[in-house]
Amino acid sequence: MGEVIVVTSGKGGVGKTTTVANVGTALAMRGNKVVLMDADIGLRNLDVVMGLENRIVYDLVDVVEGVCRLKQALIRDKRYEGLYLMPAAQTKDKNAVTPEQMQKLTNDLKESFDYILVDCPAGIEQGFRNAIAGAEKAVVVTVPEVSSIRDADRIIGLLSAHGIAEPMLVVNRVRYDMVRRGDMINIEDTTDILGIDLTGVVPDDEKIVISTNRGEPVVADPKSPAGKAYRDIAARLMGETVPFSEAGDSAGFVSKLRALFGKNG
């Protein structure tokens, strides 16, 4: 039986879709059977980030409405063995599916896949409730900014109200140079404020923009600091213990540690 993990944030534009694409790809590279599910109905993006937008025939709403079978809507990523995409519908809206239907869909997928990563839409409305309906675990993505952390806190509360306690935290787009100057909220501040365990720290990396331009997940790039961070997150999801000390800073090891824990000097 596989695991259903929803990736959510509250605030838009903090990197949910990029996280789903890269962590999912990394999990597949490690030999898992993975479905990336785009639950953002009406505003699909995951297909574009994965470079699979030209291969969509059926979508999630077609499956729910019985227009096609589940397997017909799954797009196999030819680059990575075991990686599949379940695209969202682009023309319907979020009320096209119910939480019960989403739950059934993820339950069916769990029988043949190891991981189902659900890309949750921004916001806390119906789309959010649909996306979390079938999930037993959650990853909360935030960037080190006040508005994003505030929304993450709200999401953590809502997840807990829906029976998903202790979500995993990914802090995205960390600028170590700014952390060192005292001009960015650091990792320790973020985990302190939100009170949940850290599962990943992704450094700000221009290779993300480049890889999204090309529709190729950055996780396959051995030189990308963000790519390494995503591979580490995948390993942690698989239950491995991976130290946080090599989070892709270009400076030395000691200053990396200092930046991570916010020690001055």
Partner: protein, 89 residues
């Protein structure tokens, strides 16, 4: 250095966030606090004259001996004069 003050912007952000989350988590809006303050004034004014301009009603996060951090409603109410309570005795 911060853009507008000598404080690090990280520390300003942290402080602002902590304050925001107290209200968010308690689900109490500033307007709700104003309603509580107005009612407190009504009740207390029967017994004393208070300085409503300097009165403060606030939510704080307080660490308890059991290790939990909880929200606490704090009211600071400067008294100008205690009313003659003779008739109430």
């Amino acid at each position: 250095m911060g853009l507008f003050s000598g404080r690090k912007s990280r520390d300003v952000a942290k402080e602002r966030l902590k304050f925001m989350l107290i209200h968010d988590r308690a689900d109490i809006s500033p307007r709700f606090l104003q309603m509580i303050q107005a009612d407190l004034i009504k009740v207390i004014s029967d017994y004393m004259v208070i300085d409503t301009a300097r009165m403060e009603v606030d939510l704080k996060r307080v660490s308890h001996p059991d290790g939990h951090v909880r929200s606490q409603l704090t009211a600071s109410i400067p008294i100008l004069q205690v009313k003659n309570m003779g008739k109430n005795r």
